[in-house]
Symmetry: C2
Subunit: 207 residues, 2 copies
Amino acid sequence: MARPRSFDRDHVLHAAERQFRTSGYNGTSVDDLSAATGLGRGSLYAAFDGKHGVLLQAMAGYFGRLGQFAPQALAGPDEGALERLHGYLLRAVHGVPLADDVPPAPDRAAAACFAAKMALEIGASDPEVQRLANDCFSAVVTAVAECVRAAQRNGDIDPDADPDDLAQLLLTIIRGIDVVGAYGHSPARLTSIAESAFALLPRPRHR
Amino acid sequence: MARPRSFDRDHVLHAAERQFRTSGYNGTSVDDLSAATGLGRGSLYAAFDGKHGVLLQAMAGYFGRLGQFAPQALAGPDEGALERLHGYLLRAVHGVPLADDVPPAPDRAAAACFAAKMALEIGASDPEVQRLANDCFSAVVTAVAECVRAAQRNGDIDPDADPDDLAQLLLTIIRGIDVVGAYGHSPARLTSIAESAFALLPRPRHR
DNA sequence: CCAGTTCTGTACTGATTTGTCAACTACGGC
DNA sequence: GCCGTAGTTGACAAATCAGTACAGAACTGG
């Protein structure tokens, strides 16, 4: 028996995420957030506990989406596993997972992994952000490792390779593509880097 | 016939770089810079044209150091080329090039490539920063590519591999290690990632 | 020893920033 | 139809920010 919320919580968090991704954490003021979300100052504090709270909850939402997206994109039958890895690597070029109701990516710098960007900017002085980013990373690594194992079962990847090591390396490469993309490299070059990485995956010895 | 500077320009820029690397650009105030460098507000503006000027000149200094360091670490006889690549990759774990008079690295996040960190934070809205970072990247890629060619000449790397593509991929991996390092991963894990990457380098077909 | 020039530090200004507060609004139960 | 609860809003104060201006200090050349 009270006034209901006039905004959609997820929609607001997506808009905030978008703002953080474009301007960074310290480059985003509460007024910016207010403008981006359409919410008044007070509402932001009441609902999300201010700027830092918005960030944490936006990151949590991102984490949730990523934790859903990555397994979805990578899980499947053993036969297509290698191809799914290929696709996942290439998708990194265009900036992996944004929300559905948010247009793809204003520019390339905003396409970089949200968790990674925040961790690099303020993770050193913000343990919560660091932990969230770490969880995010771990979840995806697990999904990639599972896909690598599937590809190994199918005989597409050298069975002697450690799937966890390989998965961590692949994720590191994706993070690297994020950063290099922020330099202003063309998508074509990023794609070429991703293809090079894919080509280097250890194939079985004899075929 | 005037009062001489009371500070060492490079020393000041190194201190500023250190501050920017720890707190980011937007997270560093002019007062922080003043405290870090020991210079008064007015001097900072007179000598470096304010915060942005300090950043650009610190990045230019970093660029200069890196452009000297990378070829030095990678150039040499063909026989040792592969081993030099190996060493360069591993060095990325501990944060590549800092100045001599600045202690190695306060924490891992500050060890990440200065140019990469700034490009990711403000590169999208600051073309000068983006260009500087790009130059920085290109210089190192060239040195790495040259080293790859040397290793190919020595029969340590598949001669069919494109050395430029490989160099770009290696640099991308190093950038990725930077980012993953900011998550709080242990140096041991970072080393393991670097070793995995090295192990994947395409060796000659028959030996 | 003095004059001129450059450097240095601090005080100041206007603009932003964050977080809080009180008035106002909308809805659900009675 | 009224009232209590919860949501919303714009305004406010305190703190901080970047950049400027000015007064004093340090050194060189004569």
